[in-house]
């Protein structure tokens, strides 16, 4: 009997938080309600969680300063150089690995061409190192950001992408 009560208490104590949030349903929620009504320790723990949650919910909201949008707009403008590129080029750039792979192949080709001399043993140092570094730089480069289709996005935000918190209110 003592063991059964202990197990029940442990089961409840691990789910008090979910119970507080209404995340337990059906028999689990009913069972929890019955246990909390009888168990002073669990009732006290639940009340403590409720107070902590209430205190957190009362914490102030914040917002960015009014001038933040202008600053953001400037920063958004900075990398938008690829917007005027023709469509096929933009499609290629959308796959970031394409320019990196092309650069890598060119760098390796150049390194092999420069390093190859039939009369000399293959160099072990500079050319191979330069080729490797060039390739690494190219791989690290980001392709230029593309102009997003904001109309579609904003339609989605109105239809299904709403702020969940605002939806609930």
């Amino acid at each position: 009997m003592r063991t059964a009560l202990g197990l029940a208490h442990r089961w409840v104590s691990r789910r008090l938080s979910a119970y507080l949030d209404g995340e337990l349903a059906g028999r689990a929620a009913q069972w929890m309600a019955r246990h909390v009504a009888r168990c002073a320790a669990c009732a006290e723990a639940l009340e403590g969680l409720r107070r902590a949650q209430a205190a957190l919910r009362a914490a102030p909201r914040s917002a960015p300063p009014a001038e933040a949008w202008d600053r953001l707009r400037e920063r958004m403008a900075a990398p938008a150089r690829a917007d005027g590129l023709p469509a096929p080029r933009r499609r290629l750039l959308r796959h970031r690995w394409v320019p990196a792979a092309a650069g890598l192949l060119m760098a390796l080709g150049a390194a092999i061409y420069l390093a190859y001399d039939p009369g000399q043993p293959a160099p072990q140092g500079d050319a191979a190192a330069v080729a490797a570094l060039t390739a690494a730089d190219l791989v690290q480069q980001e392709s230029v950001p593309l102009s997003p289709s904001l109309e579609l996005l904003l339609v989605a935000s109105h239809n299904g992408g709403a702020n969940p918190r605002e939806d609930r209110r």
């Binding site: 403590g48 205190a55 953001l72 958004m76 579609l152 299904g160 969940p164 918190r165």
Partner: protein, 173 residues
């Protein structure tokens, strides 16, 4: 294009409050929250072409927001650990730094102080649940975690908060 940037304005206006509140409580001070909010919306602007329309926009922004904040906390922890000459526990260093910087202004400062001492992964779940009002399922989607993990993190995080507030209430009474 300027037109696209202007079209971004309603999106920014709609979500700036919730993103700034998330950043403020994740990072613990207004200046970092201002900068993180800029980063988050800039990341959103750049990532818009990869936005999947099967995800809710708010959930997607929360995901970006939490990731930006966690990155900032990791970087701060790393810098602090390097300054101190040891790098054993970067996230612990980040938590210490954050706890020391929480602004003690206005009501709820005690709650923010307790929140700031939580592990950032737990803190994100608590903020999304109690401050932003997301369901467990929505948090799981935003953070790309199983619902069970979200439930566990919220429970453990709240337990820490409850203990901290109990201590604080005991100290002031």
């Amino acid at each position: 294009m300027a037109g696209d940037r202007d079209a971004f304005a309603p999106l920014y206006a709609r979500f700036k409050g919730m993103i700034h509140t998330l950043a403020y409580h994740m990072l613990g001070n207004r200046a970092d929250a201002d900068e993180a909010t800029q980063e988050i919306f800039l990341a959103a602007w750049r990532a818009l072409p990869s936005f999947r329309f099967d995800a809710r926009l708010g959930t997607w922004l929360y995901r970006l927001g939490v990731n930006v904040c966690l990155d900032r906390l990791r970087q701060e922890g790393r810098r602090r650990a390097l300054r101190n000459g040891h790098g054993a526990d970067l996230m612990r260093a980040a938590r210490v730094a954050l706890g020391a910087r929480v602004e003690a202004e206005g009501p709820g400062a005690d709650v923010r102080a307790a929140l700031a001492r939580l592990d950032p992964a737990f803190r994100a779940c608590i903020i999304l649940r109690d401050l932003e009002g997301l369901s467990y399922q929505e948090i799981a989607e935003a953070l790309e975690l199983p619902v069970g993990t979200v439930r566990s993190r919220i429970a453990r995080g709240r337990e820490h908060l409850r203990a901290a507030l109990r201590d604080w209430e005991g100290a002031v009474s």
